[in-house]
Symmetry: C2
Subunit: 196 residues, 2 copies
Amino acid sequence: MLEIFRAYISAQGGFNNEELDRICSVATQRKLRRKQLVLLEGEICRHKIFVAQGLLKNYRVRDDGTESILRFAPENTWTTDHESLTKQIPSRNNIEALEDSQVLLWTIDDLNDLLDAIPAFKAYTDRFITNALDASYQRIHVNISYTSEEKYDDFVSSFPDLFNRVPLHMVASYLGVSRETLSRIRQSRVKQNKIV
Amino acid sequence: MLEIFRAYISAQGGFNNEELDRICSVATQRKLRRKQLVLLEGEICRHKIFVAQGLLKNYRVRDDGTESILRFAPENTWTTDHESLTKQIPSRNNIEALEDSQVLLWTIDDLNDLLDAIPAFKAYTDRFITNALDASYQRIHVNISYTSEEKYDDFVSSFPDLFNRVPLHMVASYLGVSRETLSRIRQSRVKQNKIV
C-alpha cells in the first residue's frame, strides 16, 4: 500500500528519499470493508486520508435523513473533513468506503510536523489546497449555472471512471439533482447513443 | 484608504509595524465607479484586491449571455480570480464594482515577495485560503442539498447587509435559483412578516 502512495507523492516532485521515508514512516495503513465508516458526524476528524485502493464518499445527512454527497475519493486522491481536521471541531460529515478500500492515515500532529520539517511537503500541500479551492469554485459555478443536463454531461466527461462505479442516485446527490431527473436524462442520453 | 486596510490587517494579529508598513507600501490605491470593471474575462488577473469601501461582484458570463455570480466582495474583504492570478492563465471571470468603491491592489510578484519575507503574512494567507476552502465546501453543501426557500433564508441570515444592497436578481444568480422563484419566496416571506 505504501508503494502506491510513494509512487504518487514522488510524482509530485521535489522530495528526496529521506523525506519520502519520513512521510511514509508516520502513516498508518488500514483496510476498509465496503460501507465501513472512517469518520462519523459529531466526531473530531483526526486524520488526513490517502486512498491507495478503492473509493470513499464524504457526505452529510440532512434532517430528513437524505444524504448529500460532498465528494468522492477514488484511488490516488486525498480525503478528510478539512474544517474539522484543521480546527479540531466536531465534524458535520461522514466518510465511508463505497468499495473495499485500502487507505493511509496521517494524524494532524504528524502532518504539522512534516509541514514544518519538509519545505517540499509544505509547498505540495499549499498547491494542493490552492487547486482544491479552484476546483471548488468551478463546482460552485456548475452548481449555480448549469442545467441538470449540463451537470450530468459535465460529470460523465470529467469523471468517466467514477460514473461507472457509483450508483446513479449518488451521482444525483453529488450534483444536487433529483434521482428521477437524472434517470430521465440518462435514458435520453442512452437513446442518443452517447452511452453504449 | 490605507488606514482601513491597516486596521483590518492589524486585527488579524502577528504583524509588527515595520511589516505593516512594508505590506502597505506596495499597494496601489484605486477608486472605481459603479459598473467599472477591474478584471475582464480573457485577461490574466494581475492583482489581489482588498475592498476598502464599496462592493464588487465576481461573475462569469454564460454562452446565452446570462450572468452567473460567483462571489460578492463588500468592504473589508479580498477578491481576485484566484486561479488566473496564481497560475497566470486567462481568467474566465469578470470583476465589477456594484457600487462606487475604493480598492487596494497588490501584484502577484509583490504578493510573493511579501509571502517570502513576512512569515506572519504567509500564515495569515494560509489561514485565509483554508477558510475560503471550508466556506466553499459549505456553499457546495447548500447548493446541492437546500431547497430554494432554504437557500434564500440562509443568504438573508448569513449576509443581512448584502441582501439589502444587492438587487434580487443578482441574489438569484448567486444562489442558482430563478429570479421568478426568488421573487415568489420573497413575497411569501414578506407576508410572513419575516421581512419588515
